[in-house]
Amino acid sequence: MTLRPLGALHRRLWLPVVYWAVGALLLMAFSFPMVFMAVSSLKPDDQIFLDLKTMNAFLPTGDVSLDNYVGVFARVPVAQFLLNSAFTSALVVGLGLVVNSLAGFALTRVRWRGQTVVLGLLIATLIVPFETIAIPMVFLVSRLPWFSIDSAGLQFQEGLMNTYAVQILPFVANAFSIFLFAQYFKSIPRELDEAAMVDGASWWRVYRTIVMPLAGPVVATAAILTFLPVWNAYLWPIMTVQKEDLRPIQVGLQYFFQENVEWGQIMAYTTIITLPVLVMFLLFQRAFVASIASSGVKG
């Protein structure tokens, strides 16, 4: 304490060193496994194991090729799995945005009887973890009436098992997403609605042309928060989808992994399904981070 100037000088010298040392360690800890995955997907198995002993494990060295990727596509219909996941995610996100924003709109800007009861029930549903209802829900969806349309026309069937619908419908309505919309809609001045109504606009029109166009940020947040769980869905589809042509990407990976010991190909598969999300994350990083941060706001 007596040698304050010297202490300050000292600090100025070693602080950046410590900062960059800690930073480098963090970078290694969090990126090296992912780098190892990507790099290994380009190598034959014997090369991977040979390189484990040196830093080459993290470098595209030696016999580098896309053979593993070719192998994956030759062995399983990955393109179909990707398409299935993209299709279900897109529908969950798209339908979810409409259904949840409408509900948020109804709860904050429209008056009707029973509003407070519905809001209370909605809050109560937030505490039910998905793991609690997953098993009884399998029981339920295996007995729900459903229909299909094929060459013979409209067909009715018992049970939603092995359909796209079973991967989509349970995740469209989302209480948390409804709250995000409700919270945001509250901040938009109500005079806008009234002015439009005076001009003869219907409620539907107010929702569509006045409120929703202002809701850009919350749409992005809700989209991201509902997209990730569906793209990464696992527990639910392993129980409800056995047909290969309807299989989503994560379940496809688990099957591929179970019947395959060629690590290079497995790493190629994991890289293929991680890449789209990673690219999206890097492009829309700000929105991703904002959406995660907003999930903590209510706490």
Binding site: L26, F30, I135
Partner: protein, 364 residues
């Protein structure tokens, strides 16, 4: 919600139209939540009192609390050591005293209420042995493992996430890069992360090789095949995957603390540690509650890692509640029993989050 709006003139008809629109707008969400959330929740409770099967011949039968008896039943039974005609303690080939086995003890029990041994201990003078008998030993192991996982993961992940948030919040050069890289595992699916780490955890895998190159004389460990290291390995991986998520939550909490408070503390001569304890930490109270509750609930639901990496093994050392519910309810098709486990899980989640809420509220 809002009743302060002044009624417009001649509003009767428009009020009716408004109510109609309101109901129509809430209907899709309400209907979907009813079918896919409310009914399944009620069904979990209802099925837990039945012998429902996934592929049922006929309707499920009501079996009362039988599933819960099997799940939660505990019995402590003490048996005397076997003695020969002279009253001396009988010893087996290995020289150990011989006791009636737990199986013999349960031979005449009702088949439904039959229990098996979870643990046992001998009395000091070897004259008797006490068995801890339970209906479903895997459930108790799963419960214990789940608690272990929660007890380690919650404080470590929350603390590490806070440290990372403070580090990234220094806003020096590189901060954005660090934040991005730490967050990448969060957007990567747990199935991918589990398979990648399973590869790295192998005996001849990356982690052993790296440790061997750093530690002289290091002996390779088969991380996931050893009952002592399997759960800790999954803990490390799970924290690695999810810590970035909570770092972002802490960061957004840090950014709500006004900069003037730090200025004032600095002027008062507060050092870095003092500024943290008197400005930062009090400002993060709400964030802390949220972080703790979300990590706890997520940790209690541990499933994907187990399903992909260990299937509950080795020797049930990585059994967890949700994995057990999945194996019973889906794997063995015993929906009734699986639902009973899910109900216990639900009650647990509810209790813990209520306790946490209470504890963190009292300090205000």
């Amino acid at each position: 919600m809002d009743t302060t709006r002044p009624p417009r003139a001649g509003a009767h008809r428009t009020r009716r139209a408004e109510a109609r629109f309101g109901l129509a707008a809430i209907a899709p969400a309400a209907l979907l939540l009813l079918i896919f959330l409310v009914i399944p929740t009620l069904l979990a409770f209802a099925l837990s009192f039945t012998n429902a099967k996934l592929i049922a011949q006929g309707a499920p039968e009501f079996v009362g609390i039988q599933n819960f008896q099997r799940l939660l039943g505990v019995e402590i039974a003490t048996v005397d050591v076997e003695r020969d005609a002279s009253g001396a303690i009988e010893r087996g080939d290995d020289g150990e005293p011989v006791y009636p086995s737990a199986r013999e003890l349960q031979a005449e029990a009702d088949p439904v209420l039959k229990k098996s041994e979870l643990g046992s201990w001998q009395s000091g003078d070897a004259s008797s042995k006490t068995y801890l008998l339970v209906g479903d030993p895997i459930f108790w192991k799963a419960l214990l493992n789940t608690f272990l996982f929660v007890i380690v993961v919650v404080p470590v992940q929350a603390g590490l996430a806070l440290a990372l948030a403070l580090f990234v919040n220094l806003r020096m050069r590189g901060s954005n890069l660090f934040r991005t890289v730490i967050f990448i595992p969060v957007v990567t699916s747990m199935v991918v992360v589990s398979i990648l780490w399973l590869f790295m955890y192998q005996r001849d895998g990356l982690i052993n090789q790296v440790l061997a190159s750093v530690i002289p004389g290091y002996e390779f460990v088969d991380w996931l095949a050893n009952p002592q290291t399997a759960l800790p390995s999954i803990i490390v991986m799970s924290i690695w995957q999810a810590v970035g998520f909570h770092m972002i939550i802490w960061l957004s909490g840090l950014q709500t603390i006004p900069g003037e408070l730090y200025e004032a503390a600095r002027l008062d001569g507060a050092g870095a540690w003092r500024r943290f304890t008197s400005v930062t930490w009090p400002g993060l109270r709400h964030t802390a509650v949220f972080v703790l509750i979300t990590i706890t609930i997520a940790a209690l639901g541990l499933f994907v890692q187990i399903n992909v990496m260990t299937q509950g093994g080795p020797l049930d050392s990585t059994q967890t509640l949700v994995f057990h519910a999945f194996t019973a309810g889906y794997g063995k098709q015993q929906m009734g029993y699986g639902s009973a486990i899910a109900v216990v899980f639900f009650v647990l989640v509810l209790t813990i989050s209520l306790i946490q809420r209470r504890l963190t509220r009292e300090k205000d």
